[in-house]
């Protein structure tokens, strides 16, 4: 069990720069372990990570829920014809 850290150490600063990589699972196992050990003892860093994760989750939710206008039928028909012609060129 780690003793609580004083926030704003050089380690906090280093972690701050790599938080997105952590959230995206892009850190090396060693870097990930070091970061997780740090946040176990540093509540402000943990809270900041939670707010950054929430930001990412909100963006993803926004992406999943924005309704687009319907694709006009006439335009879709033209696209299909263009697609057929383009694929024919390749044969």
């Amino acid at each position: 069990m780690n003793a609580p850290n004083a926030h704003n150490t050089a380690e906090c600063r280093e972690i701050f720069e790599r938080l997105s990589e952590y959230l995206d699972g892009e850190l090396s196992p060693e870097a990930r372990r070091k970061l997780e050990e740090h946040i176990c003892g540093c509540a402000p860093c943990l809270e900041f990570i939670e707010s950054l994760q929430k930001t990412v989750d909100l963006c993803r939710e926004l992406g999943a829920g924005s309704p687009a206008p319907p694709l006009p039928d006439e335009f879709k028909k033209n696209l299909l014809e263009i697609c057929r012609q383009a694929l024919k060129k390749d044969k």
Partner: protein, 203 residues
Amino acid sequence: MASLDKTSDVELARRLMAGDFSAFDDFAIGLHARLFQYSLLVCGQREDAEEVAQETLLKVFENINQLREPENVRAWVFRIARNVCLMKRRKSVFAPAQELSLDELAPAGFQSDGERKLEIADWSKRPEAELLRSELRQVLERAIQDLPEIYKTVLLLRDIEGLSTEETARVLDVSEDVVKTRLHRARLAVRKTLDAYMRTHSN
């Protein structure tokens, strides 16, 4: 739900390229929804977004025979969309790239010469759906629209469209490290705006 997942995109592209035109409707409608959403956050206007989405679709299907690897369809489509957006907003190509500084995006407690006290408004425990039903949705959309171009594109491709770091790097012709750096700064900038809003509007 507006978007299709990666597997569906790839599968539909494969079928279409193999001459199975029954895949066309799902493929075109799915792409249109995603392209509209992407363009709306880039342009901010529904009319412009629809124009960009339709123009991109035209280019996609005119050149579909050049899609050599259907598994890369998402990166290929968004590369075309990005070019269409840039053509529409030509001046942004020549505009100096505005950099976001990490120090400006960090709360006081993380700044290299900052105070030790870190203040974070307590909004990160509330469900996304609840937050997006509120005015926060407009705040979030505006925060994304206001990002400098190089950061906005990365955030849209990674967090809204769900492209991988590798796919995003391919769309933008930059290294994966550049994608990671820009994405982090973009997220920090959006987080900062949301945090400032929630501080003044939370009950």
